[in-house]
């Protein structure tokens, strides 16, 4: 077994272990009697160890072994609450997808190793291989690692399995394990596969952009807080894949400077996403623990009972929506800087593709903002929609510490993105062939310069100072110029004097305009209004049905085909004895004929 820690592994080790530390501290605040059980406690460290070991593996055998250990320990955590049939279903889908993914990775490594039989990564790097073999390895690696990361259309297990696990494990699976899959993609495609060809980037760009846009549309139309977060993970994975695809394309066409910016965007987004997604999942876990509810229709008004959790969650939501001065903005800014140099591609296909990808990313960024305005607004603002929600309590101190630390990291990552980019310089030089301009290139010490100070600079501390100053100023003005008195008045109720919190704007109402635009084509959305006859006192009902085409085409159809084939093969289990004899002798005679023909 060979182990090695290089800068890339060290960077991802940072992602993994910060996430593990936050989830562990959060776990201290869990209720020992109800939320932790012997099904969770021993597997959590095993899962964390497996993720670390995947990163330092330096040969195929240990990589696949630890990868499988990671899959299985996380699967066991997903089915920890197996008394719920939904969790069992999630575990089943996850197990099947993990098996397919590992099989694809096995094929990828087989293609990398060729017939030589030496499985050390060092000899894989040196082995010569034909272009079509490289293409097959690329596809197998994308299926294998992409299914673990949540690349569409292999993402379907993710929104089922991530929410099914206990919340601190959800945070690890969504925030950290998907990054281990990203690590596998970088390790195989950027490192082991050798010098890139430009067309390698096409599947990464196309699938990444589609994943980014689709993931958020799924998130927008879903009404379960943890599932929305899982779908948003799918979106962020798409963004990271686009960044990696751009880096690959720039590298292959000799534009090392742009490749460094794109790769830095991808790595930085992986780091940032691990922070804010862990934070959001931990916050959702606190809400779930306080109310027992994950459904938007039962939440609402959490900010009154859980002010600190709400504040931390807001930081996470602003980060994921890529608002300055938080960290999400830094990586998205770098990514768009890379996209904007797309017209300099020497290959026409890439020149045309990069604006399309950029447009889809912009759409995804806008949808992400909408999605988290909806999530925060419906869950934390307004009035409680359920009595259980009204009596919620603030999260225990350990959980608040974990969330607070992550929120602080989100802010620090936003302010000091330029420092992080300098720290990952060895990775950029190794895999992109260049690095970003140094710390002294910008106007202030902590500014982030993508290409040159005149063309592309993000000066985070200055922006943050401006935002703070203008925010304080406008607050002061608003309070100074208007009455300071806080007034409480009945909420506006559309002219209908019904005091029920049900009359509030709901999550479904929020996403309705977007559903009208995108739902029909992509989800086959059908809205049905059940209007009572005049004189009938029952309320009118609006029901919306959405179809998941990806699930139907990529999951249910193959599953049906497999079960049909196995039913057909099942008839072989109950033939008369003579037919078995006939088959055996037929096989024997066929083999004899082959032997006679060969000799």
């Amino acid at each position: 077994m060979r182990l090695r820690l290089d800068p890339l592994a060290a960077f991802f080790g940072l992602i993994v272990n910060i996430g593990v530390a936050a989830a562990s501290v959060y776990g201290l605040g869990l209720d020992r009697d109800h939320e932790l059980s012997p099904r969770v406690e021993p597997l959590f460290p095993a899962f964390a160890a497996a993720m670390n070991l995947v990163l330092i593996a330096d040969d195929v055998y240990s990589f696949l072994f630890f990868w499988e250990l990671m899959s299985l320990s996380s699967w066991a955590l997903v089915v920890a609450r197996h008394d719920d049939p939904a969790n069992r279903h999630a575990g089943h889908v996850y197990l099947v997808m993990a098996a397919i993914g590992t099989m694809a990775l096995l094929l990828a490594f087989a293609g990398l190793a060729g017939g030589a039989g030496d499985l050390a990564f060092a000899s894989l790097r040196a082995a010569p291989r034909a272009p079509y073999v490289a293409g097959l390895v690329l596809v197998a690696a994308l299926v294998g690692a992409g299914s673990k990361a949540g690349l569409a259309p292999l993402h379907a297990w993710l929104p089922l399995a991530h929410p099914a696990a206990p919340s601190h494990v959800s945070a690890l699976m969504s925030g950290v394990m998907t990054k281990v899959a990203i690590y596998a993609v970088i390790r195989i495609i950027f490192d082991l596969l050798g010098a890139p060809a430009w067309w390698w980037s096409l599947p990464l760009l196309a699938l990444g952009a589609a994943t980014a846009a689709l993931g958020l549309l799924y998130a927008l139309f879903d009404n379960d807080l943890k599932r929305v977060l899982a779908y948003s993970t799918v979106e962020n994975i798409g963004v990271i894949f686009v960044a990696l695809g751009l880096a690959l394309a720039f590298r292959a066409t000799g534009l090392e400077g742009s490749a460094a910016v794109a790769l830095a965007a991808g790595l930085l987004h992986a780091l940032n996403h691990s922070w804010f997604k862990s934070l959001l999942f931990l916050g959702a876990g606190a809400v779930l623990h306080a109310t027992g509810k994950r459904d938007f229709d039962g939440l609402g008004g959490m900010i009154h009972n859980m002010p600190k959790t709400a504040a931390f969650w807001l930081v996470g939501a602003m980060s994921i929506a890529a608002l300055p001065p938080f960290n999400g903005f830094v990586s998205e800014w770098l990514l768009f800087q890379a996209v904007l140099t797309g017209p300099s591609f020497p290959v026409p296909v890439l020149r045309f593709l990069s604006p399309v990808v950029g447009a889809l990313l912009a759409l995804a960024a806008a949808l992400a903002a909408a999605c988290f305005v909806r999530a925060f607004g419906v869950a934390f603002l307004g009035r409680p929609r359920d009595p259980a929600t009204a009596n919620a309590h603030e999260a225990p101190r350990a959980q608040l510490i974990a969330m607070g630390a992550l929120a602080a990291l989100c802010l620090a990552g936003g302010l000091f993105g330029g420092v992080i980019v300098q720290i990952i310089k060895p990775i950029l030089v190794a895999f992109a062939g260049a690095a970003l301009p140094g710390m002294d290139a910008g106007p202030t010490p902590f500014s982030l310069v993508a290409f040159s100070a005149a063309r592309s600079t993000y000066d985070a501390p200055t922006v943050a100072a401006f935002l703070l100053a203008s925010g304080c100023l406008s607050t002061w003005c608003a309070h100074r110029l208007s009455s300071r008195r806080t007034r409480r008045a009945p909420a506006w109720d559309c002219g209908f004097p019904e005091p029920s919190p049900r009359t509030q704007y709901t999550a479904s109402s929020f996403s309705q305009p977007l559903r009208r635009v995108y739902g029909g084509l992509l989800f086959g959305a059908v809205e049905k209004v059940d209007m009572p006859a005049p004189g009938d006192a029952r309320p009118a009902r609006l029901t919306v049905t959405l179809r998941d085409y990806l699930w139907e085409w990529f999951y249910r159809a193959p599953a049906r085909a497999v079960s049909r084939v196995s039913l057909w093969l099942d008839r072989l289990q109950s033939l008369p004895m003579r037919d078995y004899l006939l088959m055996m002798s037929g096989a024997l005679i066929a083999l004899l004929l082959v032997a006679a023909g060969l000799s």
Binding site: M577, R578, L582, S585, L593, A596, S599
Partner: protein, 219 residues
């Protein structure tokens, strides 16, 4: 030396003839007689090998073949047929003519194959091996094309005869193997015998269909 091989080849040819003759019998009694004759031929062939190759331990195999397969098993099977009052006829899936045609094709396949595959080997044992393979294939054919349990047992054991013939023809095959083969035949007989009695007790019939009914496959 060549005489020795010609005699053993002659005996092997006679065994093949007995296999063909097994395929075209209409009566169970005749099937059992033919099988006994094949077993006698086998014991002669093995005995001849033991004599000419100066491998006395092969006499044990010859004696086992004679005692077990030529006498004990046919007698036991005949008593079984009598005691159970089985139909005396052979229940065929494929008619005699077509069975013989298939058997001819299998025999020529065996000859063609062994002669081609072993083209570089010692020339004397090749024909013996080819004939043994043909006997094995004909035993399989009998198991497939004949329906009653007794004929399937006989087909199985005639297949076994071909195996023993091939094993004794090859030099250096240790005795352990032959004894174990002989015992496996005996065990197979016991198992089949128990099955036959059991099936008869429960279902009053010894067609293979009865076994299928036990397994619940065909309604």
């Amino acid at each position: 030396m060549t005489h020795a091989y010609e005699v053993s080849r002659f005996l092997a040819g006679l065994m093949l003839l007995a296999s063909f003759s097994l395929l075209c019998q209409d009566r169970l009694a005749a099937v059992l007689n033919t099988f006994a004759a094949q077993a006698v031929l086998l014991s002669m062939a093995v005995g001849w090998e033991a004599w000419t190759q100066d491998r006395p331990h092969l006499f044990i195999t010859a004696a086992l073949a004679l005692g077990l397969k030529a006498i004990i098993i046919p007698v036991a099977l005949r008593r079984m047929v009598d005691r159970l009052g089985l139909t005396r006829g052979v229940d065929k899936v494929v008619g005699v003519g077509s069975t013989l045609m298939i058997g001819l094709a299998l025999t020529s396949l065996a000859l063609l194959l062994v002669l081609r595959v072993t083209a570089s080997a010692e020339s004397f044992t090749r024909e013996g091996l080819a004939l043994a393979l043909a006997i094995v294939l004909l035993g399989l054919l009998m198991m497939i094309t004949r329906r009653s349990v007794v004929t399937q047992i006989v087909g199985f054991m005639s297949l076994e005869n071909g195996l023993i013939l091939a094993a004794t023809g090859a030099r250096g095959m240790p005795l352990v193997v032959e004894i174990s083969v002989a015992f496996s035949v005996l065990i197979a007989l016991l198992v089949f015998g128990v099955f036959v009695f059991d099936i008869h007790d429960r279902f009053e019939g010894v067609g293979v269909e009865a076994i299928e009914r036990v397994r619940g496959d065909r309604e």
